[in-house]
């Protein structure tokens, strides 16, 4: 019924979210920098001063985990509430509904971009340095967007029917900080748990990012990690799309 231009619509909605978010903040995009900087400062204090960690370049180490984690939590919770928050649109216009959560997730990218720049500048400035594997970064980032869009499609449609889905998502986000290697090294995880630990694509994302930036190694490691991550992200996305399409005809009556 809707014969429009999907990409143009997506682009307009992303720009809209972005403009609204940053026009109302006096510090604008700087807010995206403040959060990871404060977290990084506190974590460095706790780990270096209290726990006496001797890990070199601890700030870069933590940021490799914090940056993808921040995007995950902001993108996912924004995506989850997007359908209900755009009820006016859903009830009034026959726009393709998938575009709403996906555009919300993509509009968080600017946030990620700023933080990623901070991480890269910090990596260069602190002496960790650049390497050719940085070319993988856009791929890693794109996969995270695909993955977060996929789970947002599932939870945004569920949230229409069960309104406390968003609180469940918030709780998972909190727990997730400890289930991905942000403050500790993946290598410290006992062998027997490491496979099950890596099922979580977000944990793998952090591992990959750390291999590229912190260790200066190929993200693939010894076991085709990038291939697995790609497969997992797209599988989650298509499951999300299928799930969303099954539920969307009922949105109107329940929103």
């Amino acid at each position: 019924m809707w014969h429009g231009d999907y990409l143009y619509l997506l682009q307009n909605l992303v720009m809209k979210d972005f403009r609204i978010r940053y026009r109302n903040m006096s510090l604008g995009v700087l807010w995206s920098l403040l959060n990871p900087l404060i977290m990084m400062g506190v974590m460095s204090f706790v780990w270096i001063i209290i726990f006496k960690s001797d890990k070199p370049h601890f700030a870069v180490f933590v940021l490799c985990g914090l940056v993808p984690y921040n995007f995950f939590t902001i993108g996912w919770s924004g995506g989850t509430t997007s359908i209900v928050e755009n009820a006016g649109l859903i009830k009034r216009l026959p726009v393709p509904r998938e575009v709403v959560p996906i555009s919300t997730v993509i509009s968080c990218c600017i946030h990620l971009l700023v933080q990623l720049l901070l991480l890269l500048v910090w990596a260069i400035g602190s002496g960790v340095g650049m390497n050719r594997y940085w070319l993988w970064l856009p791929v890693v980032w794109a996969l995270e967007v695909v993955f977060v869009s996929g789970i947002s499609l599932i939870t945004s449609s569920t949230n229409v029917f069960i309104r406390d889905t968003r609180y469940i998502v918030e709780s998972i986000n909190l727990v997730m900080l400890w289930l991905i290697p942000v403050f500790y090294d993946f290598k410290e995880i006992p062998q027997k748990y490491s496979d099950i630990y890596q099922i979580n694509p977000l944990a793998t994302l952090v591992i990959v990012l750390r291999r590229i930036i912190y260790e200066g190694q190929s993200p693939n490691g010894t076991s085709y990690t990038m291939l697995k991550l790609t497969a997992a992200s797209f599988t989650v996305f298509f499951i999300g799309l299928y799930f969303f399409r099954r539920l969307k005809p009922m949105f109107y009556e329940h929103i």
Binding site: H3, D5, V95
Partner: protein, 256 residues
């Protein structure tokens, strides 16, 4: 104009539609409770066995009291929801839903930004928006304000902008829900002219309004609905007259 003869623009066949009367938001605990003892939710029947067809180029008014099912018919036509039973067929083409002007308008964005967003929501391509942009502004008569945030606009100005975007997409079917009362008299006149222009160029119009005078100038046919059922369907003059006398009778009864 007889190319599509035989194929209706809008065709409702034995359409039923009901809504659950649930109070407020549904939380997980409500879902769990419903799992164990399934109590039936009270249903509100918005449409009961509604049949009608609208030929291409016809302009049809829906009349009836509040809750008679007029808006439900509009929403089924734009495919915002689906019927419980029966079928709704709509000719393939662009539909301009003037259901709620400015759905998707945001007060913090400028008029210009809102035009682009709203146009793409209605299905316009990047090229079409660029080509039509000046026409949209001309018609809306916003002037310098176009680069100011929408919250600085008067209601009338925002409505003019929204109407201008929605009618610039060159629709095949125009859906109008109670909007032409907004704006000053001069602009109301302009809106009416544009809608009459659509009518003359053979577009299909489906229209809801409580202003019977205006419906008579815009539409040639009326469908009178009462509690989700079609009471009368025919030329607008007699149907509106019958509806008005029934309303008067009702008012006398409830007063006496």
């Amino acid at each position: 104009m007889n190319i599509s003869r035989g194929r209706p623009a809008i065709h409702f066949q034995n359409v039923w539609k009901s809504f659950d009367r649930h109070a407020g938001q549904i939380l997980l605990r409500d879902r769990l409770r419903n799992l164990f003892h399934s109590h039936k939710l009270e249903k509100f029947h918005a449409l009961r066995d509604v049949c009608f067809r609208v030929e291409p180029g016809e302009s049809v008014a829906l009349i009836g009291h509040n809750g008679a099912g007029k808006s439900t018919i509009l929403n089924l036509t734009t495919k915002l929801c689906r019927p419980d039973r029966g079928t709704v067929e709509v000719q393939d083409g662009r539909i301009a839903p003037l259901l709620d002007l400015g759905a998707g308008f945001h007060p913090d964005l400028t008029g210009s930004e809102n035009v682009y967003i709203n146009a793409s929501l209605l299905g316009l391509s990047r090229r079409a928006v660029r080509e039509q942009y000046d026409r949209i502004l001309d018609f809306a008569e916003i002037g310098e304000f176009i680069n100011e945030p929408l919250r600085t606009y008067s209601t009338g100005m925002a409505m003019r902008l929204a109407f201008s975007v929605a009618t610039t997409i060159d629709p095949d079917i125009l859906i109008i829900d109670e909007i032409l009362g907004v704006g000053d008299i001069a602009f109301g006149e302009k809106c009416r002219d544009r809608i009459m222009g659509f009518r003359r160029s053979g577009k299909t119009i489906l229209c809801v309004s409580h202003s019977n005078g205006m419906l008579k100038t815009l539409c040639e046919r009326a469908i009178w609905l009462d509690h989700g059922q079609v009471v009368e369907d025919g030329p607008i003059g007699p149907v509106v007259a019958a509806y008005e006398s029934a309303m008067k009778e009702h008012a006398v009864h409830s007063a006496g």
